[in-house]
Protein backbone atom coordinates (compact mmCIF):
# COMPACT_ATOMS: atom_id res chain seq x y z
CA UNK A 1 0.00 0.00 0.00
CA UNK A 2 2.85 2.32 0.97
CA UNK A 3 4.53 1.52 -2.34
CA UNK A 4 1.41 2.32 -4.33
CA UNK A 5 1.25 5.80 -2.85
CA UNK A 6 4.94 6.24 -3.48
CA UNK A 7 4.54 5.25 -7.12
CA UNK A 8 1.58 7.55 -7.57
CA UNK A 9 3.41 10.44 -5.91
CA UNK A 10 6.52 9.87 -8.01
CA UNK A 11 4.51 9.80 -11.22
CA UNK A 12 2.81 13.10 -10.37
CA UNK A 13 6.09 14.72 -9.31
CA UNK A 14 7.71 13.54 -12.55
CA UNK A 15 4.86 14.97 -14.57
CA UNK A 16 5.18 18.30 -12.75
CA UNK A 17 8.94 18.51 -13.21
CA UNK A 18 8.60 17.93 -16.94
CA UNK A 19 5.71 20.39 -17.14
CA UNK A 20 7.86 23.11 -15.56
CA UNK A 21 10.13 22.85 -18.60
CA UNK A 22 7.40 24.68 -20.53
CA UNK A 23 8.80 27.92 -19.18
CA UNK A 24 12.49 27.35 -19.87
CA UNK A 25 14.29 28.42 -22.99
CA UNK A 26 15.44 25.69 -25.38
CA UNK A 27 19.15 25.00 -25.32
CA UNK A 28 19.23 24.39 -29.08
CA UNK A 29 21.57 26.54 -31.18
CA UNK A 30 19.71 27.32 -34.41
CA UNK A 31 22.80 26.43 -36.40
CA UNK A 32 22.92 27.97 -39.86
CA UNK A 33 21.47 31.27 -38.63
CA UNK A 34 23.11 31.18 -35.24
CA UNK A 35 26.78 30.22 -35.37
CA UNK A 36 28.19 28.39 -32.37
CA UNK A 37 31.29 29.75 -30.61
CA UNK A 38 34.33 27.66 -31.44
CA UNK A 39 37.40 27.98 -29.19
CA UNK A 40 40.61 29.10 -30.95
CA UNK A 41 42.15 25.68 -30.37
CA UNK A 42 39.22 23.89 -32.00
CA UNK A 43 40.51 21.07 -34.20
CA UNK A 44 38.75 21.63 -37.50
CA UNK A 45 39.85 22.06 -41.11
CA UNK A 46 43.58 21.60 -41.72
CA UNK A 47 45.56 24.41 -43.40
CA UNK A 48 49.16 24.96 -44.45
CA UNK A 49 50.44 28.33 -43.25
CA UNK A 50 53.14 30.72 -44.38
CA UNK A 51 55.84 32.40 -42.29
CA UNK A 52 55.78 36.18 -41.65
CA UNK A 53 57.84 36.77 -44.82
CA UNK A 54 55.19 35.06 -46.92
CA UNK A 55 57.19 31.90 -47.63
CA UNK A 56 55.76 28.43 -47.19
CA UNK A 57 56.52 27.06 -43.77
CA UNK A 58 56.34 23.42 -44.78
CA UNK A 59 59.76 21.81 -45.24
CA UNK A 60 58.32 18.47 -46.45
CA UNK A 61 59.80 16.45 -43.59
CA UNK A 62 56.97 13.83 -43.81
CA UNK A 63 56.50 13.88 -40.02
CA UNK A 64 52.81 14.77 -40.30
CA UNK A 65 52.28 11.99 -42.78
CA UNK A 66 54.08 9.55 -40.48
CA UNK A 67 52.18 10.73 -37.42
CA UNK A 68 48.78 10.52 -39.09
CA UNK A 69 46.94 7.53 -37.60
CA UNK A 70 44.65 7.13 -40.61
CA UNK A 71 47.26 7.85 -43.31
CA UNK A 72 45.28 10.61 -44.90
CA UNK A 73 48.24 12.93 -45.67
CA UNK A 74 50.45 12.35 -48.68
CA UNK A 75 53.16 14.66 -49.97
CA UNK A 76 56.27 14.74 -52.11
CA UNK A 77 59.40 16.66 -51.13
CA UNK A 78 61.37 18.76 -53.64
CA UNK A 79 64.15 21.36 -53.56
CA UNK A 80 63.45 24.93 -54.49
CA UNK A 81 66.47 26.37 -56.32
CA UNK A 82 65.06 29.89 -56.09
CA UNK A 83 65.08 29.83 -52.27
CA UNK A 84 68.53 28.54 -51.36
CA UNK A 85 67.61 24.98 -52.37
CA UNK A 86 65.24 24.76 -49.44
CA UNK A 87 62.93 21.77 -49.25
CA UNK A 88 59.28 22.27 -50.00
CA UNK A 89 56.36 19.96 -50.84
CA UNK A 90 55.91 19.45 -54.58
CA UNK A 91 52.41 18.29 -53.81
CA UNK A 92 50.57 18.06 -50.54
CA UNK A 93 47.32 16.18 -50.38
CA UNK A 94 44.93 15.56 -47.46
CA UNK A 95 42.02 13.21 -47.86
CA UNK A 96 39.41 14.73 -45.54
CA UNK A 97 37.05 11.83 -46.02
CA UNK A 98 39.57 9.86 -43.97
CA UNK A 99 40.82 12.57 -41.61
CA UNK A 100 39.70 12.15 -38.00
CA UNK A 101 40.79 15.64 -36.93
CA UNK A 102 43.00 14.25 -34.16
CA UNK A 103 45.64 16.99 -34.51
CA UNK A 104 48.61 14.58 -34.45
CA UNK A 105 49.98 16.20 -37.63
CA UNK A 106 49.94 19.60 -35.97
CA UNK A 107 51.76 18.19 -32.94
CA UNK A 108 54.34 16.48 -35.12
CA UNK A 109 55.07 19.51 -37.32
CA UNK A 110 58.48 21.01 -36.45
CA UNK A 111 57.84 24.24 -38.36
CA UNK A 112 54.24 25.03 -37.26
CA UNK A 113 53.26 24.75 -40.93
CA UNK A 114 50.29 22.43 -40.65
CA UNK A 115 47.54 23.74 -38.37
CA UNK A 116 43.97 22.86 -37.48
CA UNK A 117 41.60 25.83 -37.45
CA UNK A 118 38.09 26.37 -36.06
CA UNK A 119 36.12 25.54 -39.20
CA UNK A 120 34.07 22.40 -39.57
CA UNK A 121 31.85 23.27 -42.54
CA UNK A 122 33.36 20.86 -45.04
CA UNK A 123 30.32 19.00 -46.31
CA UNK A 124 30.43 17.95 -49.95
CA UNK A 125 28.02 16.12 -52.24
CA UNK A 126 30.77 14.01 -53.82
CA UNK A 127 33.39 12.23 -51.78
CA UNK A 128 36.19 13.01 -54.23
CA UNK A 129 35.70 16.70 -53.45
CA UNK A 130 36.97 16.02 -49.96
CA UNK A 131 40.49 15.42 -51.27
CA UNK A 132 42.25 18.75 -50.77
CA UNK A 133 45.32 19.59 -52.84
CA UNK A 134 48.09 21.97 -51.85
CA UNK A 135 46.40 24.99 -53.42
CA UNK A 136 43.29 24.24 -51.35
CA UNK A 137 45.29 23.84 -48.16
CA UNK A 138 47.81 26.67 -48.41
CA UNK A 139 46.60 29.94 -46.90
CA UNK A 140 48.30 33.32 -47.23
CA UNK A 141 48.48 34.00 -43.48
CA UNK A 142 50.49 32.77 -40.54
CA UNK A 143 47.71 30.92 -38.74
CA UNK A 144 47.97 30.74 -34.98
CA UNK A 145 51.69 31.69 -34.70
CA UNK A 146 52.19 35.17 -36.12
CA UNK A 147 55.94 35.73 -35.66
CA UNK A 148 57.28 32.25 -36.03
CA UNK A 149 59.84 31.63 -38.75
CA UNK A 150 61.49 28.24 -38.54
CA UNK A 151 64.73 29.24 -40.30
CA UNK A 152 65.32 32.17 -37.94
CA UNK A 153 64.59 30.10 -34.82
CA UNK A 154 66.40 26.87 -35.67
CA UNK A 155 69.41 26.12 -33.47
CA UNK A 156 71.52 24.91 -36.34
CA UNK A 157 73.57 26.87 -38.85
CA UNK A 158 71.63 27.96 -41.89
CA UNK A 159 72.51 30.12 -44.87
CA UNK A 160 71.03 33.18 -43.13
CA UNK A 161 72.70 32.85 -39.75
CA UNK A 162 75.33 31.01 -37.82
CA UNK A 163 74.84 28.86 -34.75
CA UNK A 164 73.65 30.91 -31.78
CA UNK A 165 72.42 33.86 -33.84
CA UNK A 166 68.79 32.85 -34.03
CA UNK A 167 65.91 34.53 -32.22
CA UNK A 168 65.71 33.72 -28.49
CA UNK A 169 68.96 31.78 -28.84
CA UNK A 170 72.01 32.05 -26.55
CA UNK A 171 75.51 31.86 -28.07
CA UNK A 172 76.78 28.26 -28.07
CA UNK A 173 78.62 27.07 -25.01
CA UNK A 174 82.13 25.71 -25.43
CA UNK A 175 81.60 22.42 -23.61
CA UNK A 176 85.34 21.78 -23.33
CA UNK A 177 85.89 24.95 -21.26
CA UNK A 178 83.05 24.23 -18.90
CA UNK A 179 85.13 23.49 -15.83
CA UNK A 180 83.79 23.29 -12.30
Amino acid sequence: MMNTWLYARNLIVGLWIVFKRTFTKPVTVQYPEEQPYLPPRWRGRIVLTRDPDGEERCVACYLCSAACPVDCISLQAADNPEAHDRRYPAFFRINFSRCIYCGMCEEACPTNAIQLIPDFEQSEYARRNLVYEKEDLLISGTGKYHDYNFYRMAGVRTRDKDKGQGEHELPPVDVKSLMP
Partner: protein, 318 residues
Amino acid sequence: MIDWSHTALTIAVMLGSCLTLAGMLIWVERRLLGVWQERYGPNRLGPGGCLQSLADMIKIFTKEDWIPPFADKAVFVITPAIVVITALMSFAVIPIAPNFVVADLNVGVLFFLAMSSLAAYSVIIGGWASNNKFAFLGSLRAIAQLLSYEVFMGLSLMGAVLLAGSFNLSDIVEAQRHQWFVIPQFLGFLGFFMAGLAEAHRTPFDMPEAEAELVAGYHSEYSGMKFGMFFVGEYLSILLLSAMTVILFFGGWHGPWLPPVVWFAVKMFGFIALIILIRAAWPRFRFDQLLSFGWKVVMPLALINLLVTGGVVLWRAG
Protein backbone atom coordinates in the same frame (compact mmCIF):
# COMPACT_ATOMS: atom_id res chain seq x y z
CA MET B 1 -37.10 13.46 -40.88
CA ILE B 2 -33.35 13.48 -41.57
CA ASP B 3 -31.98 16.62 -43.17
CA TRP B 4 -29.62 15.09 -45.73
CA SER B 5 -27.74 18.24 -46.64
CA HIS B 6 -27.07 18.99 -43.00
CA THR B 7 -25.83 15.44 -42.43
CA ALA B 8 -23.62 15.51 -45.50
CA LEU B 9 -22.13 18.82 -44.44
CA THR B 10 -21.49 17.51 -40.94
CA ILE B 11 -19.83 14.40 -42.30
CA ALA B 12 -17.62 16.49 -44.59
CA VAL B 13 -16.63 18.86 -41.80
CA MET B 14 -15.98 16.06 -39.32
CA LEU B 15 -13.98 13.96 -41.78
CA GLY B 16 -11.94 16.91 -43.00
CA SER B 17 -11.20 18.28 -39.57
CA CYS B 18 -10.40 14.85 -38.10
CA LEU B 19 -7.88 13.97 -40.79
CA THR B 20 -6.34 17.45 -40.80
CA LEU B 21 -6.11 17.46 -37.02
CA ALA B 22 -4.58 13.99 -36.99
CA GLY B 23 -1.94 15.22 -39.43
CA MET B 24 -1.32 18.42 -37.50
CA LEU B 25 -1.17 16.45 -34.26
CA ILE B 26 2.05 14.78 -35.43
CA TRP B 27 3.62 18.22 -35.65
CA VAL B 28 2.00 19.36 -32.38
CA GLU B 29 3.32 16.32 -30.57
CA ARG B 30 6.84 16.83 -31.88
CA ARG B 31 6.80 20.53 -30.96
CA LEU B 32 5.40 19.90 -27.49
CA LEU B 33 7.87 17.10 -26.82
CA GLY B 34 10.52 19.59 -27.90
CA VAL B 35 9.24 22.18 -25.44
CA TRP B 36 9.38 19.67 -22.61
CA GLN B 37 12.81 18.45 -23.59
CA GLU B 38 14.24 21.99 -23.85
CA ARG B 39 14.62 21.98 -27.62
CA TYR B 40 12.59 23.30 -30.56
CA GLY B 41 11.36 20.35 -32.56
CA PRO B 42 10.46 20.84 -36.24
CA ASN B 43 10.35 24.61 -36.77
CA ARG B 44 11.61 25.11 -40.32
CA LEU B 45 8.81 24.58 -42.81
CA GLY B 46 6.00 27.12 -42.66
CA PRO B 47 5.23 29.37 -39.68
CA GLY B 48 6.56 27.58 -36.62
CA GLY B 49 7.11 24.47 -38.72
CA CYS B 50 3.39 23.74 -39.05
CA LEU B 51 3.77 22.38 -42.59
CA GLN B 52 6.10 19.63 -41.39
CA SER B 53 3.33 17.02 -41.58
CA LEU B 54 2.74 17.97 -45.20
CA ALA B 55 6.38 17.39 -46.03
CA ASP B 56 6.32 14.10 -44.13
CA MET B 57 3.25 13.08 -46.09
CA ILE B 58 4.86 13.86 -49.44
CA LYS B 59 7.88 11.86 -48.37
CA ILE B 60 5.85 8.91 -47.16
CA PHE B 61 3.78 8.87 -50.35
CA THR B 62 6.86 8.71 -52.56
CA LYS B 63 8.41 5.89 -50.60
CA GLU B 64 8.42 2.36 -51.98
CA ASP B 65 5.27 0.53 -50.97
CA TRP B 66 6.85 -2.77 -50.06
CA ILE B 67 5.06 -5.94 -49.07
CA PRO B 68 7.36 -8.55 -47.56
CA PRO B 69 7.39 -11.79 -49.60
CA PHE B 70 6.73 -13.81 -46.45
CA ALA B 71 3.65 -11.80 -45.46
CA ASP B 72 0.01 -12.79 -45.94
CA LYS B 73 -0.67 -10.27 -48.70
CA ALA B 74 -4.42 -9.71 -48.62
CA VAL B 75 -4.59 -9.36 -44.83
CA PHE B 76 -1.40 -7.34 -44.75
CA VAL B 77 -2.83 -4.78 -47.18
CA ILE B 78 -6.26 -4.48 -45.59
CA THR B 79 -5.07 -3.98 -42.00
CA PRO B 80 -4.00 -0.31 -42.16
CA ALA B 81 -7.41 0.55 -43.59
CA ILE B 82 -9.15 -1.08 -40.62
CA VAL B 83 -7.17 1.09 -38.22
CA VAL B 84 -8.25 4.33 -39.84
CA ILE B 85 -11.80 3.26 -40.62
CA THR B 86 -12.62 2.13 -37.08
CA ALA B 87 -11.12 5.30 -35.63
CA LEU B 88 -13.07 7.48 -38.05
CA MET B 89 -16.31 5.54 -37.50
CA SER B 90 -16.18 6.38 -33.79
CA PHE B 91 -16.14 10.07 -34.63
CA ALA B 92 -19.60 9.64 -36.14
CA VAL B 93 -21.16 9.65 -32.67
CA ILE B 94 -19.01 12.42 -31.16
CA PRO B 95 -21.13 15.55 -30.53
CA ILE B 96 -18.90 18.59 -31.01
CA ALA B 97 -21.64 21.12 -30.29
CA PRO B 98 -25.45 20.99 -29.88
CA ASN B 99 -26.89 19.42 -33.06
CA PHE B 100 -23.41 19.09 -34.53
CA VAL B 101 -23.04 15.33 -34.72
CA VAL B 102 -23.05 12.96 -37.67
CA ALA B 103 -25.19 10.23 -36.10
CA ASP B 104 -26.98 11.04 -32.86
CA LEU B 105 -27.29 7.36 -31.90
CA ASN B 106 -29.18 6.50 -28.76
CA VAL B 107 -26.48 3.89 -28.05
CA GLY B 108 -23.52 6.17 -28.88
CA VAL B 109 -21.43 4.91 -25.97
CA LEU B 110 -21.88 1.30 -27.03
CA PHE B 111 -21.03 2.20 -30.62
CA PHE B 112 -17.81 3.82 -29.42
CA LEU B 113 -16.90 0.76 -27.36
CA ALA B 114 -17.67 -1.55 -30.26
CA MET B 115 -15.49 0.46 -32.62
CA SER B 116 -12.57 0.53 -30.22
CA SER B 117 -12.89 -3.25 -29.88
CA LEU B 118 -12.81 -3.58 -33.67
CA ALA B 119 -9.66 -1.45 -33.75
CA ALA B 120 -8.00 -4.17 -31.70
CA TYR B 121 -8.40 -6.56 -34.64
CA SER B 122 -6.24 -4.40 -36.87
CA VAL B 123 -3.37 -4.64 -34.42
CA ILE B 124 -3.81 -8.37 -34.00
CA ILE B 125 -4.10 -9.34 -37.66
CA GLY B 126 -1.52 -6.75 -38.68
CA GLY B 127 1.06 -8.42 -36.46
CA TRP B 128 -0.03 -11.86 -37.57
CA ALA B 129 0.01 -11.11 -41.30
CA SER B 130 3.50 -9.58 -41.09
CA ASN B 131 4.90 -13.03 -40.26
CA ASN B 132 7.66 -11.42 -38.24
CA LYS B 133 8.49 -12.42 -34.70
CA PHE B 134 8.68 -8.87 -33.37
CA ALA B 135 5.41 -7.93 -35.01
CA PHE B 136 3.89 -11.10 -33.61
CA LEU B 137 5.16 -10.37 -30.09
CA GLY B 138 3.74 -6.87 -30.43
CA SER B 139 0.33 -8.18 -31.37
CA LEU B 140 0.41 -10.80 -28.61
CA ARG B 141 0.98 -8.00 -26.14
CA ALA B 142 -1.71 -5.94 -27.83
CA ILE B 143 -4.24 -8.76 -27.48
CA ALA B 144 -3.61 -9.21 -23.76
CA GLN B 145 -3.54 -5.46 -23.13
CA LEU B 146 -6.61 -4.58 -25.18
CA LEU B 147 -8.66 -7.48 -23.80
CA SER B 148 -7.98 -6.53 -20.21
CA TYR B 149 -8.31 -2.79 -20.66
CA GLU B 150 -11.42 -3.04 -22.82
CA VAL B 151 -13.23 -4.52 -19.84
CA PHE B 152 -12.81 -1.69 -17.42
CA MET B 153 -12.96 0.99 -20.09
CA GLY B 154 -16.61 0.01 -20.40
CA LEU B 155 -17.05 -0.38 -16.66
CA SER B 156 -15.57 2.97 -15.74
CA LEU B 157 -17.63 5.00 -18.20
CA MET B 158 -20.81 3.27 -17.02
CA GLY B 159 -20.80 5.63 -14.03
CA ALA B 160 -21.29 8.61 -16.33
CA VAL B 161 -23.98 6.71 -18.23
CA LEU B 162 -25.80 5.92 -14.97
CA LEU B 163 -25.71 9.54 -13.83
CA ALA B 164 -27.00 10.82 -17.17
CA GLY B 165 -29.47 7.97 -17.52
CA SER B 166 -28.74 7.64 -21.23
CA PHE B 167 -26.35 6.00 -23.68
CA ASN B 168 -26.70 8.96 -26.00
CA LEU B 169 -23.57 11.10 -25.92
CA SER B 170 -25.48 14.36 -26.49
CA ASP B 171 -27.72 13.55 -23.52
CA ILE B 172 -24.65 12.79 -21.39
CA VAL B 173 -23.23 16.22 -22.27
CA GLU B 174 -26.59 17.89 -21.57
CA ALA B 175 -26.69 16.20 -18.14
CA GLN B 176 -23.44 17.98 -17.26
CA ARG B 177 -24.85 21.46 -17.70
CA HIS B 178 -24.50 22.23 -13.99
CA GLN B 179 -21.81 19.84 -12.83
CA TRP B 180 -19.13 18.02 -14.75
CA PHE B 181 -19.12 14.26 -14.17
CA VAL B 182 -15.45 14.37 -13.27
CA ILE B 183 -16.41 15.44 -9.74
CA PRO B 184 -18.76 12.59 -8.79
CA GLN B 185 -16.98 10.19 -11.13
CA PHE B 186 -13.33 10.93 -10.47
CA LEU B 187 -12.41 7.24 -10.19
CA GLY B 188 -14.35 6.55 -13.34
CA PHE B 189 -12.44 9.31 -15.13
CA LEU B 190 -9.06 7.92 -14.01
CA GLY B 191 -10.02 4.42 -15.08
CA PHE B 192 -11.37 5.57 -18.43
CA PHE B 193 -8.37 7.73 -19.17
CA MET B 194 -5.93 4.93 -18.34
CA ALA B 195 -7.87 2.43 -20.41
CA GLY B 196 -7.99 4.96 -23.23
CA LEU B 197 -4.22 5.39 -23.11
CA ALA B 198 -3.88 1.62 -23.34
CA GLU B 199 -6.36 1.50 -26.24
CA ALA B 200 -4.48 4.19 -28.12
CA HIS B 201 -1.15 2.43 -27.36
CA ARG B 202 0.29 5.51 -25.71
CA THR B 203 3.00 5.78 -23.09
CA PRO B 204 3.03 4.38 -20.39
CA PHE B 205 0.99 1.59 -21.97
CA ASP B 206 2.65 1.44 -25.40
CA MET B 207 3.87 -2.12 -25.02
CA PRO B 208 2.51 -3.34 -28.40
CA GLU B 209 4.89 -1.01 -30.20
CA ALA B 210 7.67 -0.75 -27.63
CA GLU B 211 10.35 0.58 -29.95
CA ALA B 212 13.16 -0.24 -27.53
CA GLU B 213 12.27 -3.93 -27.41
CA LEU B 214 10.18 -4.81 -30.45
CA VAL B 215 11.55 -2.54 -33.22
CA ALA B 216 8.09 -1.07 -33.85
CA GLY B 217 5.90 -3.89 -32.60
CA TYR B 218 2.99 -4.91 -34.77
CA HIS B 219 3.79 -2.49 -37.61
CA SER B 220 7.49 -3.36 -37.96
CA GLU B 221 7.04 -4.66 -41.50
CA TYR B 222 4.91 -1.79 -42.74
CA SER B 223 6.42 0.97 -44.85
CA GLY B 224 5.30 3.86 -46.99
CA MET B 225 1.70 4.96 -46.77
CA LYS B 226 0.60 1.75 -45.02
CA PHE B 227 2.78 2.74 -42.11
CA GLY B 228 1.40 6.26 -42.52
CA MET B 229 -2.13 4.87 -42.09
CA PHE B 230 -1.12 3.20 -38.83
CA PHE B 231 0.36 6.49 -37.74
CA VAL B 232 -2.73 8.48 -38.65
CA GLY B 233 -4.86 5.86 -36.92
CA GLU B 234 -2.84 6.29 -33.75
CA TYR B 235 -3.33 10.02 -33.77
CA LEU B 236 -7.00 9.64 -34.57
CA SER B 237 -7.36 7.45 -31.51
CA ILE B 238 -5.63 10.11 -29.42
CA LEU B 239 -8.14 12.64 -30.72
CA LEU B 240 -10.93 10.19 -30.00
CA LEU B 241 -9.72 9.52 -26.46
CA SER B 242 -9.51 13.26 -25.73
CA ALA B 243 -12.91 13.90 -27.27
CA MET B 244 -14.55 11.06 -25.32
CA THR B 245 -12.96 12.17 -22.04
CA VAL B 246 -14.23 15.69 -22.60
CA ILE B 247 -17.73 14.46 -23.47
CA LEU B 248 -18.10 11.90 -20.69
CA PHE B 249 -16.43 13.69 -17.80
CA PHE B 250 -15.65 17.33 -18.63
CA GLY B 251 -18.96 18.71 -19.79
CA GLY B 252 -18.44 18.50 -23.55
CA TRP B 253 -19.23 21.84 -25.14
CA HIS B 254 -20.48 23.50 -21.93
CA GLY B 255 -18.62 26.58 -20.75
CA PRO B 256 -19.21 30.28 -20.19
CA TRP B 257 -18.87 33.09 -22.78
CA LEU B 258 -17.17 31.26 -25.63
CA PRO B 259 -19.13 29.38 -28.33
CA PRO B 260 -19.59 25.62 -27.72
CA VAL B 261 -17.21 24.48 -30.48
CA VAL B 262 -14.39 26.59 -29.04
CA TRP B 263 -14.95 25.17 -25.55
CA PHE B 264 -14.91 21.68 -26.94
CA ALA B 265 -11.69 22.33 -28.87
CA VAL B 266 -9.99 23.96 -25.88
CA LYS B 267 -10.83 21.10 -23.53
CA MET B 268 -9.84 18.56 -26.13
CA PHE B 269 -6.51 20.25 -26.74
CA GLY B 270 -5.89 20.25 -22.98
CA PHE B 271 -6.22 16.47 -22.92
CA ILE B 272 -4.09 16.05 -26.03
CA ALA B 273 -1.38 18.11 -24.34
CA LEU B 274 -1.73 16.00 -21.18
CA ILE B 275 -1.30 12.81 -23.21
CA ILE B 276 1.81 14.23 -24.85
CA LEU B 277 3.13 15.41 -21.48
CA ILE B 278 2.67 11.90 -20.13
CA ARG B 279 4.69 10.61 -23.06
CA ALA B 280 7.41 13.15 -22.32
CA ALA B 281 7.56 12.35 -18.61
CA TRP B 282 6.71 8.73 -17.90
CA PRO B 283 8.56 5.55 -18.71
CA ARG B 284 6.89 2.45 -20.08
CA PHE B 285 5.42 -0.09 -17.65
CA ARG B 286 6.72 -3.62 -17.64
CA PHE B 287 4.23 -5.92 -19.31
CA ASP B 288 3.37 -8.02 -16.24
CA GLN B 289 2.99 -4.78 -14.24
CA LEU B 290 0.58 -3.51 -16.86
CA LEU B 291 -1.64 -6.58 -16.67
CA SER B 292 -1.56 -6.95 -12.89
CA PHE B 293 -2.23 -3.22 -12.50
CA GLY B 294 -5.18 -3.52 -14.84
CA TRP B 295 -6.80 -6.58 -13.28
CA LYS B 296 -5.86 -6.08 -9.61
CA VAL B 297 -6.12 -2.30 -9.15
CA VAL B 298 -8.18 -0.57 -11.81
CA MET B 299 -10.72 -3.32 -12.37
CA PRO B 300 -11.84 -3.59 -8.67
CA LEU B 301 -11.87 0.20 -8.40
CA ALA B 302 -14.05 0.48 -11.50
CA LEU B 303 -16.44 -2.16 -10.14
CA ILE B 304 -16.69 -0.46 -6.73
CA ASN B 305 -17.22 2.87 -8.44
CA LEU B 306 -19.99 1.39 -10.57
CA LEU B 307 -21.69 -0.23 -7.56
CA VAL B 308 -21.55 2.93 -5.45
CA THR B 309 -22.80 5.11 -8.32
CA GLY B 310 -25.62 2.68 -9.04
CA GLY B 311 -26.58 2.67 -5.35
CA VAL B 312 -26.60 6.44 -5.16
CA VAL B 313 -28.68 6.76 -8.34
CA LEU B 314 -31.22 4.23 -7.06
CA TRP B 315 -31.36 5.89 -3.61
CA ARG B 316 -31.95 9.30 -5.19
CA ALA B 317 -34.70 7.87 -7.39
CA GLY B 318 -36.31 6.70 -4.12
